[in-house]
């Protein structure tokens, strides 16, 4: 037995294309666990700099599916998915996001940053187990 909800104009009994279904119990979906945001300060450093911060402690005991984004204009409302990299002559800026079995972590690797910056990070963690623990 299964539960199928078809889009308007399609027959839930006979339709097999998932694009034409609102929901089908034949297909897994992403289950929300937690979402939130946190500001992270990156200090000025002209030389090579590395920093790690815990974005969120999920304590799920496995590596979950996640997505993360940041406001690339720091308040301007232009968002970019993480991980993110930028480089110019003599400077670079990497933002890497990892999950472990307990935490979501932001790692910064940079060089040539002449002023400190506080960046807002948004995240969504799903219950889906990546199966990579």
């Amino acid at each position: 037995m299964k539960l199928v909800i078809a889009k308007p104009g399609y027959d839930a009994i006979t339709e097999t294309d998932p694009d034409n279904l609102i929901f089908s119990s034949d297909y897994n979906t992403f289950k929300y666990f937690k979402n939130g945001s946190t500001p992270i300060y990156i200090p000025a450093s002209v030389s090579v700099f590395t920093q790690e911060n815990t974005i969120f402690t999920h304590d799920l005991g496995y590596c979950p599916f996640f997505i993360a984004t940041w406001d690339i204009t720091v308040g301007g409302g232009n968002f970019s998915n993480l991980s993110y990299s930028w480089a110019d002559a003599g400077a670079y800026f990497h933002l890497f996001v990892y999950t472990t079995t307990t935490e979501l972590i932001l790692r910064v690797e940079s060089s040539g940053l002449t002023s400190g910056i506080t960046i807002p990070i948004w995240y969504k963690i799903f219950k889906n187990n990546l199966g990579l623990s």
Binding site: F23, Y27, F65, S83, F96, T99, E109, L130, L132
Partner: protein, 125 residues
Amino acid sequence: MSKQIRVARGGKNALTSTDPNDFIFHSEYNTFKIVEEGSEEFVMGATGEAEESVSIETTHSNQFAFVFCKFANGRVGSPGTKASDVNFWFTKVEIDATNILCSYVNLTGGNYTATFKYYICELPL
């Protein structure tokens, strides 16, 4: 009027709420269906940008993939992420009708073992 199935979040009214964020499920809104998932481990030689191919079974015409890489130190990241302990990059992902192509750059000087986990979803249109 067509019938609807609505499951509201705690504290929200399934009959009166109009904000999609108030619902666990609402039959007026499409769900993001996972049509296939899997994982594969690779041993990747030291190289500039190269790619590993993961065969997929799904023949769905509109495909969208999420891929994660489990680095050798146990941390897991999405495309664009470098391992935190060595110079190995999981750079990007492409998907065609039969394969997911996972690109990487291995500047560790030796072989590097990592596992790619993928989810293929309907195209989110």
